[in-house]
């Protein structure tokens, strides 16, 4: 019992240490790769966790994440660009939709609006598509994401979305800490949902729909709650990604983005929120920072060149997927207790094996 409390305390200290790192980076090195990685990692963590809520906990294989992120990013950008800057952002300056000349939302309100718009679309799309299962649901949601992207680029919507041109000049978070706090709040809310009785019902649906229905769980309602919540946070994540990229443009919210997030969820472990968070930072750190040296031609002359890191990165991912099929965390959550016990078991296994070998030799 006592050691359990100590382990819990260490977990909390580690969590605080993560925020400590964010503050430290803000103070020491506000511009540079570490700051970039931490910001982007925090954004991806939010979206990966939201996707895991749907794919990992409710068993709904959806690939619409980029579409909901786009809705969030555009909503945030459209409503938070300062009124005086709007004329310079929109390419058809005399055609900007009327309401945009009067509405300007503060950052936090615009972020919540971003989530809300994504959630509303999720509700409308969910009515027909949540009747579908597995791959069919994936295809339908993927199609939805493509349609959203096409609409955002449509000339007719230019007065609102600026057509294919980027939306810029909206307020952005400048500090790593701000990204961490926003991401932390989102992830904490999802974690609370997963631990509630709703979370248990989601897992029941994932495990066995027939039994869940027989136990009186309303399938349509619970799937919808999960889908709408997941999309809400994908929308908020989209707004944060727009801040990180300093421009919101439909082209960057493409299918590849959905796959990147899916990859993070798989690497972290389907059904593990902490796994998704850890994998987000590792993934972003590898793709943006740790492997970057491979892009310089003189590491291995003739082989390494611009873009080579992506080749190595893909190989690394294949190895992970082949040898850690259940991801880093499986469906367990991170805790120091499990880490310590796991490593003790690991050391013991190795010693046992050595002892057995020694015996065989004798």
């Amino acid at each position: 019992m006592k050691s359990k409390t100590i382990f819990k305390a260490i977990d909390i200290v580690l969590l605080l240490a993560a925020f400590g790192v964010a503050i430290a980076v803000d103070l020491v090195m506000p511009v540079g790769l570490p700051a970039t990685v931490l910001k982007k990692g925090a954004v991806f963590a939010v979206v990966a966790v939201s996707m895991n809520l749907l794919n990992g906990f409710t068993g709904l294989f959806s690939l619409g994440q980029a579409g909901f992120m786009l809705l969030g990013a555009y909503t945030y950008a459209i409503f938070s660009i300062p009124l005086e800057a709007r004329a310079s952002v929109y390419y058809m300056q005399d055609h900007v939709a009327g309401f945009l000349n009067v509405v300007e939302l503060p950052v936090v309100v615009a972020m919540i609006a971003a989530g809300a718009v994504a959630a509303i679309f999720a509700f409308l799309i969910g009515l027909p598509v949540l009747r579908l299962k597995s791959d069919y649901l994936a295809i339908a949601t993927l199609g939805f994401a493509e349609i959203v992207g096409a609409f955002a680029k449509w000339e007719m919507l230019g007065p609102i979305t600026n057509a294919p041109n980027p939306l810029v000049n909206y307020p952005k978070f400048s500090k790593v800490t701000t990204y961490f706090v926003a991401a932390g709040i989102c992830i904490a809310i999802i974690a609370l949902l997963v631990r509630s009785t709703y979370g248990r019902a989601f897992k029941a649906i994932r495990d066995d729909e027939i039994a869940a229905e027989a136990m009186g769980i309303n399938l349509a309602k619970h799937k919808m709650i999960s889908f709408v919540t997941s999309s809400f946070f994908a929308g908020v994540g989209g707004a944060m990604l727009a801040m990180f990229q300093s421009k919101a443009q439909a082209n960057s919210f493409n299918t590849a983005l959905t796959y990147e997030i899916l990859l993070i969820v798989v690497i972290g472990g389907i059904g593990s929120l902490s796994g998704s968070v850890i994998a987000s930072f590792l993934y972003i750190a590898c793709s943006e920072w740790w492997l970057r040296f491979l892009d310089t031609p003189d590491v291995i002359p003739g082989l390494t060149r611009n873009g080579f890191r992506l080749v190595v990165f893909s190989a690394v991912i294949m190895v992970i997927v082949l040898f850690f099929r259940r991801g880093l965390m499986g469906d367990k959550e991170f805790s120091t207790e499990r880490l310590v016990k796991g490593s003790k078991q690991f050391v013991k296994d190795i010693q046992d094996r050595k002892a057995r070998k020694a015996k065989e030799v004798n």
Partner: protein
């Protein structure tokens, strides 16, 4: 005693195939009633349409006098009808305790007493309450499926082939439990292919054949019936 459940002219079809053709039968309150019949006779479809999982073509299902046909499964569970589905269907990645809590999902009141009741009926589940349900043996999973249904505090529990794929000694245990549950005042509607065992515990029984009810009587009567003996009990005339 009054009838807790009355089925009137119930028909269910899948596409063009009629699985149940206009059946009517009553389940008396506080009794064990069994439906026997071979594969594809429409037994499971009957239970599933009562539970609201399968949509019926027409007919009436009166539970305590109220027509529950066409209601969604959660409303039917709320009224006190639960189904133990065929093939157990426990939630493999949830613990035994979590499985039991899901059974009480629609209840807002205190479930401690019911948990104790289930643990008394199935001491094995108490020992394994922290184990993942997927790691239990077949018999234990069946116990869990029954226990989970009891957590909803049903008035009528419907069991779909609880003895399927279990060792004879385990089957005996399951039937003992069915009796005990019934003694607690819960009406049991049981589907079985193991006609011998089912008829022995049943107060009344119905034989289903290709979507129709062909015979009915008390359990003891049907055990002695020549047709039943030949078709379902494997005894020559």
């Amino acid at each position: 005693m009054s009838n807790i459940l009355e089925i009137r002219n119930l028909s269910v079809s899948y596409g063009g195939i009629e699985a149940i053709k206009n059946i009517s039968f009553d389940v008396e309150e506080g009794k064990i009633v069994t439906l026997i019949g071979s594969n594809g006779a429409g037994k499971s479809s009957t239970l599933r349409s009562i539970a609201g999982i399968v949509k019926a073509k027409h007919g009436e299902v009166l539970f305590e006098g109220e027509n529950i046909l066409g209601m969604s499964p959660d409303h039917i569970v709320k009224r006190g009808v639960t189904l133990v589905p065929e093939g157990r269907h426990v939630f493999p990645n949830l613990t035994v305790l979590e499985n039991l809590k899901i059974g009480a999902y629609l209840r807002k009141d205190n479930i401690t007493a019911d948990l104790e009741n289930v643990y008394t009926l199935f001491p094995r589940l108490k020992e394994r309450s922290w184990q993942l349900a997927g790691t239990l043996s077949g018999g234990e999973q069946q116990m869990l499926a029954v226990g989970r249904a009891l957590m909803a505090r049903p008035k009528l529990i419907m069991m779909d082939e609880p003895s399927l794929g279990l060792a004879p000694i385990v089957v005996q245990g399951i039937f003992d439990i069915i009796r005990q549950i019934n003694e607690q005042g819960i009406t049991v509607l049981l589907i079985e292919q193991n006609a011998n065992m089912a008829l022995k515990v049943a107060d009344s029984a119905f034989v289903m054949q290709t979507g129709e009810i062909t015979l009915s009587g008390t359990g003891a009567e049907l055990l002695e019936n020549e047709e039943v003996k030949e078709a379902y009990l494997g005894k020559k005339k």
